[in-house]
């Protein structure tokens, strides 16, 4: 259970991701869209943090900043104490749209990240890719083309692709939006298992409050225009959690109330 990396970081300083006073405004022609305004948050090493908030409140933007695909106007984002200056293989992103490569088949997509990982021979890459395809239940589609998959299957391939290179940090943007309830619950289990076994740090964006409570150690509530972190909920329910449990439903209810309150009253502190 205890991996060397976890042991190396002392209990006093286990911050994996630090977002400090970050603001980001998009300028398009005459319009200016303040996507994030003075957002600060930290994510501990091995922590599972969920972001919830209405559409357009800057959740994807925040993930892109952590991923190093965009840069803040002010403030800074750091991972392991290092300022983020670009994408890195330690932070894998699962985009809101599956973003699979149509010129590669299913296993080819999962192999993409593995091919860029040094010290892996072809057999090891294949084995890893097949392992993750099995995990998301798509081993029989390994040779299918991307356009032959349903939306939910594409998301599962994207999950396998993000997990395969075994990154320390996973940034997931509404990854299970297009899935049916059964597959979704199965993947919650798999994701939690992988997170615990491999001690990953996960930032998970969702519109589904129940999903957030089921998965997260903490749930951060965002409000829009401009995007800000409004409230933080620590979820101490024992794992594995039952999506339909009474405690979970109660916590989800509280958070939903808070979301509604912030929407109705955007400027209250």
């Amino acid at each position: 259970m205890t991996e060397p990396v976890a042991a190396k970081i002392s209990a006093t300083d286990a911050v994996k991701i630090a977002v400090e006073h970050v603001s980001k405004t998009f300028r398009g022609g005459t319009r200016e869209v303040p996507a994030l305004s003075d957002v600060s948050l930290t994510v501990g090493d091995g922590e599972f943090v969920c972001l919830v908030g209405p559409s357009g409140c800057g959740k994807s933007t925040l993930l892109n900043l952590i991923a190093g695909l965009e840069f803040p106007d002010t403030g800074q984002v750091s991972v392991d104490g290092q300022r983020v200056t670009g994408p890195g293989r330690d932070r894998m992103v699962m985009f809101q749209e599956a973003a699979l490569f149509p010129w590669r088949n299913v296993i080819g997509n999962v192999l993409f990240g593995l091919e860029l990982k040094p010290n892996l021979d072809a057999a090891a890459r294949r084995e890893t890719a097949e392992f993750y395809l099995r995990m998301v239940g798509l081993e029989s589609f390994r040779d299918a083309f991307v356009h032959e998959l349903s939306g939910g299957m594409k998301q599962r391939v994207a999950l396998a692709r993000a997990l395969a290179p075994n990154p320390r940090v996973l940034l997931m943007d509404e990854p299970f939006g297009a899935l049916d309830a059964l597959t979704r619950e199965q993947l919650y289990q798999d994701l939690q298992r992988i997170w615990q076994e491999r001690r990953k740090t996960i930032v998970f964006v969702t519109h589904n409050v129940r999903e957030a409570v089921c998965l997260g150690d903490r749930v951060l509530v965002f409000s829009p225009h401009p995007g800000r972190v409004r409230e933080e909920f620590r979820i101490d329910l024992p794992r594995p959690r039952d999506l339909n449990g009474v405690d979970l439903a109660r916590r989800a209810g509280e958070i939903t109330q808070a979301l509604k309150a912030h929407l109705a009253n955007p400027d209250a502190a």
């Binding site: 190093g68 695909l69 293989r89 932070r91 490569f101 083309f145």
Partner: protein, 254 residues
């Protein structure tokens, strides 16, 4: 089952109508030769090797010209899609020249290169490269940015991104540009061969031209037929399979 039958009936009817019109004697055989005359020309020309020799000359010019056109058009397209300064300058030039029918290059080519192979190639390259440049430019610009972003998060950079993301992502559009470029190259070369008389080998266009000068209408129609067949063959043998493959893989349209 039914489709070949319909096609067979259609073409048989066409030939019969042509034959009857020619046999009616209303037009002189110089203007309207019978289908059998054309067929016998084709058989003769095939037997004495003149058709094959001309096709070979034309094919060589086409291959060289087309490859040169690609060699010019592809890099130019990469430049214009990548750099604003190139698209504002070279891009505009290409767009303008692309609208110019390739025959219009013939007078210039004759003045610059005289009656040489160079003149032929010049016309073909000018007819081809601009459309390939424009297709390459379009293809690269139409790549959804998410592909590059996803690749970068997985550690892809520089040449790896070019080879494993940009090239395959733009392939469907670039391929259709190559096909269009081929069509332009073929048309340009025929224009050049008809208008540029040279000693370094007679191509299909020259046979057509001589046919007219000799009032040998069977030769004119026969060579036209061969030109059509070559065009169709290139499409069916090279481009259609490539396009089918891309469609199957990428799932684009259809």
């Amino acid at each position: 089952m039914k489709r070949p039958l319909i096609a067979a009936v259609f073409f048989a009817g066409l030939l019969a109508a042509w034959h009857l019109l020619a046999a009616s004697g209303r037009w002189s055989p110089v203007l309207l030769p019978a289908p059998l005359d054309v067929a016998s020309y084709l058989v003769r020309a095939a037997a004495d090797g003149s058709l094959a020799a001309a096709a070979l000359v034309t094919g060589r010019r086409l291959a060289v010209g087309y490859l040169l056109g690609i060699g010019l058009g592809l890099p130019l397209g990469c430049l214009t899609s990548r750099f604003r300064s190139c698209s504002d300058t070279l891009g505009v030039v290409a767009l303008g020249l692309q609208t110019l029918p390739s025959v219009c290059w013939v007078p210039l080519a004759l003045l610059w290169f005289g009656q040489t192979e160079g003149a032929m190639l010049f016309v073909v390259v000018m007819g081809t490269s601009w459309s390939i440049q424009i297709a390459t430019d379009d293809g690269l610009r139409s790549i959804p940015p998410i592909y590059q972003r996803a690749a970068r998060t997985m550690g892809s950079r520089g040449l790896h991104t070019v080879l494993h993301v940009l090239v395959p992502a733009s392939l469907p559009v670039v391929l259709s540009g190559m096909k269009q470029g081929w069509a332009f190259a073929w048309r340009s070369l025929m224009a050049a061969e008809i208008f540029v008389t040279i000693l370094s080998g007679s191509g299909l266009g020259h046979l057509l031209h001589y046919g007219r000068e000799l009032l040998a209408m069977d030769q004119v129609l026969g060579v036209m037929f061969v030109i059509v067949v070559v065009g169709l063959a290139a499409d069916k043998i090279v481009f259609s399979p490539a396009e089918r493959w891309v469609r199957r893989r990428w799932g684009t349209d259809a």
